[in-house]
Point group: C2
């Protein structure tokens, strides 16, 4: 996948997930890889961008709110969310946003 | 500033800036620091999150579209945008998005 997501003409949706990790891996790395794979197979998935440097920022792009809702409710993703909440993150914020305009080179 | 931005109850706006850097610093580091400082002084600025790991992702949060428009037109910021376009980035994408919902721990 391109490190800068290839996205269609707006509108589309972004899920901005910002997090701080707890110490130790504890299965996080494998699960993160699996979740990117699984997300990319979901209906309405467009692309994903991710970087961690102290704080981690992952932005996934989706066709509409319904696609995001289905992804949030995915059974395997629910397990990951639970472990994230309990073990992997000391804090996080998820923001759901409608992309109205974009430009770039 | 907190690495995870402290943001108000939605709606508010996010500017998602994703980029790939060219080789060498060429004044980029100093300008990046200056732009965060300058942005934080603008009307309507709420907060900023940033990480680079291969790809760079910077998300700044703003009260409304008018604040984003003014920041984009800021004279010193225009100089930085020009240098970014010409020298610092091999590619970038800027997305302007309305945050509709958020949650976290």
């Amino acid at each position: 996948m391109s490190p800068i997501a290839i996205t269609p003409k707006p509108p589309y949706y972004a899920v901005i997930f910002t997090s701080l990790r707890s110490d130790g891996d504890n299965g996080y790395g494998d699960m993160a890889t699996r979740m990117v794979q699984l997300a990319s197979e979901q209906p309405g998935f467009i692309g994903i961008e991710s970087a961690r440097e102290g704080v981690g920022i992952t932005v996934s792009y989706w066709r509409d709110l319904e696609s995001i809702k289905l992804w949030k409710a995915n059974a395997e993703h629910l397990v990951a969310q639970k472990l994230g909440h309990e073990q992997w993150y000391t804090s996080f914020k998820t923001r759901i946003a409608k992309v109205e305009r974009d430009y770039g080179i």
